[in-house]
Amino acid sequence: MALNEKDVARIARLARIDLTAEQRERAQAELNGILGLIERLQSVDTSGVEPMAHPLSAHEDVVLRLREDAVTETASEARRAELMANAPASRDGLFLVPKVIE
């Protein structure tokens, strides 16, 4: 099933990537090409096979750890400033974004 223009616009919206009309057209052709490649998955009978999310599950029982629910980072204004140094816009220890509520 090939993706149409509307599908591509919807995917781009979900992915939060703003595409120009020209990029959308190109993306439509490319994504349909890729779908053609991955469509071969459907030909495999996988009934009864458990999906594998963690590769080591082929080797051992994987138990994901949980850490203690405790603050481990040092909290200081200097550390905060260091962590926020890469923010495109910030003030008084806050990340600035365009106004959300009028």
């Binding site: 594998m52 974004v97 959300v100």
Partner: protein, 502 residues
């Protein structure tokens, strides 16, 4: 061009460098300065993205102090460099993306930290495909790196800068990351050695995420012995990475295997069963690459190993499985780049949603956009079962194929890394998925989470390919990287491909 050997390449391998430093025949500062000069002299390779001579020299001075105090670690004074997906204080970290063009990390990645503790001196950050997505290094926002063997050829990817820097002798070793072949393939194409360890063996704390069920860090160097020197300090449990697994490192398995091989006389590898999957030698494999790999297998037989024909029937299906799973995970991981906390923010926008969408459109290059879009689609409502879960079921079948081979038929698996030698820069530009198909021999290992390495085993054929290296892939069972390194070391003792220089 007349060139004398740069000082940092005068002492042979890492063990040679370490001996020269311990005996004060050279200082870490002298080595670092020599490597910095070499990096500057080979700016044409575009292997390095960020060099900060003062930071490098400060690390070298610290190394000399440790040497003087008799406190040298296993890598003290050894010049290395990091793929630009490992975050570093001091040096910028861009992951090859405009999105992170100005990003400076407030902390060091675990791999960076561990190698620094072992004493290594960092020359800086290495070029790579944007967010490690690609296999030619042409998806870097900062221009492609070039193959030292032939400037018209790609170095491979995504760890292309790492492979180029090692091949050109700019550093003794480099870090890389491998999600679907990104250590093994550039190592093969540049004629150096590289290893992707078992999933979970090396901490990914501070490694820019791409596909979290696949990503693994690994070193590239000039020999299996040098890889062991890097991999040993790199491995180990780290509570800061939820997928990190306790592992006693490659050394014990290496010692066991190397000890046994040392007893073997002229047949050191007697008893080693090498599984050769017929699917790795199909129609897609270029004749010159196939011939070099066959010659390597014959060399292993001469060393006493036994060749066993095996089948990995779902080899080609690894391509669709991987290109569902990796983009799906990438779309999820890269959602964090929203133009709010760090990364590129567009100059013009109407509201918050528009700011994010425009920032991402401007910050991500075409391949990353493509993978995010396809990943978003396969995870979207109504398609998740058909694509993502189906790919994960197939993934288990692929992993089980390897397990049945290791269960009774063979100890290691060998075959090509890539179907051809390095292609020219610019080829495949109009067909974004052409490179994907060339990942066919590396993807299965990544999906299964197995350790695998690439070692140089010859060159292609003819006037052009004859100067482009071929890599042999050696695949092992989980946490068996020590044996892989011992097997590769025996091969490198019997052959000299790994000593060839461009």
């Amino acid at each position: 061009m007349t060139m004398t050997t740069p000082l940092h390449n005068e002492f042979g391998d890492i063990a040679g460098l370490r001996a020269a430093l311990d005996e004060r025949r050279v200082s870490a500062v002298e080595l670092a300065q020599s490597a910095l000069d070499a990096v500057a002299a080979r700016a044409d390779l575009n292997a390095f993205l960020h060099v900060e001579p003062e930071l490098t020299l400060a690390q070298a001075r610290a190394a000399d102090e440790r040497l003087a105090a008799g406190q040298a670690g296993p890598l003290t004074g050894v010049p290395i460099a990091h793929k630009d997906v490992f975050v570093t204080r001091g040096w910028r970290t861009t992951a090859g993306s405009k999105m992170l063009a100005d990003y400076v990390s407030p902390y060091d990645a675990a791999v960076v930290e561990r190698l620094e503790q072992a004493g290594a001196v960092s020359l800086g950050k290495l070029n790579c495909d944007e967010f490690a997505m690609g296999s030619g290094n042409e998806n870097s926002a900062f221009g492609p790196a070039r193959n030292p063997w032939d400037p018209a050829a790609v170095p491979g990817g995504s760890s292309g800068g790492s492979a180029a820097a090692v091949a050109a002798g700019l550093v003794a070793a480099a870090t890389g990351t491998d999600t679907g072949g990104s250590v093994r393939q550039p190592a093969a194409l540049c004629g150096v050695s590289g290893i992707k360890p078992t999933y979970g063996a090396v901490s990914r704390f501070g490694m820019v995420a791409f596909g979290s069920s696949l990503d693994q860090a690994g070193p590239l160097a000039r020999s299996a012995r040098d890889l062991l020197a890097l991999l040993e300090p790199m491995t180990g449990f780290d509570e800061r990475d939820a997928t990190s697994r306790a592992f006693d490192g490659p050394r014990p398995a290496y010692e066991r295997a190397a000890g046994a091989y040392a007893q073997g006389g002229s047949q050191p590898l007697a008893g080693l069963r090498i599984g050769v999957p017929r699917e790795y030698f199909g129609a897609g494999l270029a004749a010159d690459v196939g011939a070099a790999v066959e010659a390597a297998l014959a060399e292993f037989e001469k060393l006493g190993a036994r060749r066993v024909a095996i089948s990995l029937p779902r080899t080609e299906l690894a391509i669709p499985a991987y290109y569902v799973i990796a983009p799906a995970e990438a779309s999820s991981n890269l959602a964090r780049y929203d133009g709010v906390r760090y990364g590129h923010r567009a100059a013009q926008y109407t509201d918050l949603a528009d700011m994010t969408s425009r920032s991402r459109a401007e910050g991500f290059g075409p391949e990353v956009r493509r993978r995010i879009l396809i990943g978003t689609y396969v995870l979207s409502h109504g398609y998740y079962d058909a694509y993502y879960l189906q790919a994960q079921r197939l993934r288990r079948m692929i992993a089980e194929d390897f397990q049945s081979a290791f269960a009774g038929q063979c100890d290691v698996v060998m075959g090509p890394v890539a179907p051809t030698v390095a292609r020219n820069l610019g080829d495949n530009r109009e067909d974004p998925t052409a490179d994907w198909l060339a990942d066919v021999y590396t993807l299965g290992v990544s999906l299964a989470g197995l350790p695998a390495m690439s070692v140089p085993c010859g060159f292609g054929g003819g006037p052009v390919n004859g100067r482009r290296p071929v890599g042999l892939q050696i695949i092992g069972n989980y946490f068996d990287e020590g044996r892989l390194l011992a097997v590769a070391e025996r091969y490198q003792q019997a052959t000299d491909w790994h000593t060839r220089k461009p």
